[in-house]
Subunit: 86 residues, 5 copies
């Protein structure tokens, strides 16, 4: 699992049915590279989160028919940019 | 999931049966690296799209027998190259 | 599988149910990049460990419903930073 | 999926049974990094091909018991080194 | 699949049950980065081998309950460091 920071919501009106009405967040890693994660926990911009990849992402979404390859698994307590980048 | 921009269609006359007659697009990431994605949504060159990897790509294709490891999951609204590269 | 060194425990009070009450460790690779691994073996900070990714991570957790994509599979004997970085 | 160029055949006399008598090709990406792909389409050295990873590679091989993580899915028409590297 | 060179055996006395008594090798890629692979073929230090990742690694191990994400699939004939690094 990786440590990402939530940047903003992702707006995509035209989607495949298996992602319809799901909350998607743009997240960044410690290098500033962006990915998109499904968010079942309600994270807010600025939160540091654990992200889950591979097939576990679908299970983590709570319904394996949701076609995600990256899902937020929790909000990290007591994390900071300094800790992340060292 | 990643954010890619559609570059062009991919033409491959000689394919395995599980990819026959499927729409394939060449997509680029923010570094300009190219990949090939199956497109069930009808994206056009220049569109910024969400791409789905791992086994979720097969489910996202609408038929898990389609042997894709990268599938376009939606077209992103309000994205731009500036937002992508920062 | 990869060779990681355990850095510290990860504290995340707000989690999805499939990760509840599981031991999570922040681990680093030889470049200092951080990841988060589920720990079924009781590793301590400073231990060099084998980490297992992909779907094998869920099986390695002892219960495939645990939504991990990285699980510690063992503690390595006789390893050192010099061996790791060469 | 990725775009690779076939370099040469791979000769490995001593193999596990699930890869026995399968055609394996050394392929390179646009950086010159090498990988090994199973080839069900009969690609020749110099051909630009689509390669399929993850579990889709096993399905693409035509028999999911074949233990490949990279399978050639088609030969690309009208590709060139210039297009690839830009 | 990738091309790795076997460096040495990996000793890990304290393991999860699904890796107990399995032969594990430290392998390096052409950049010198290390990974750990399960070895069902009996490779020796210095051998160039094909390594199989993703879920295919478990199938390649001969028993899908073995929690490996990287398994040696064969020993390559006629390979050399020069060929590897070009």
């Amino acid at each position: 699992m990786n440590i990402h920071r939530v940047v903003r919501d992702l707006v995509a009106t035209h989607r495949i049915p298996s992602l319809a009405e799901k909350s998607l967040r743009v997240v960044e890693d410690h290098r500033g590279d962006l990915e998109v994660a499904l968010d079942p926990v309600g994270a807010k911009p600025g939160d540091f989160v654990i992200t889950i990849g591979t097939t576990a992402a679908r299970f983590a979404a709570g319904d394996r028919r949701i076609t995600t390859d990256l899902t937020i698994g929790g909000i990290i307590d007591h994390w900071s940019e300094e800790r992340w980048r060292v």
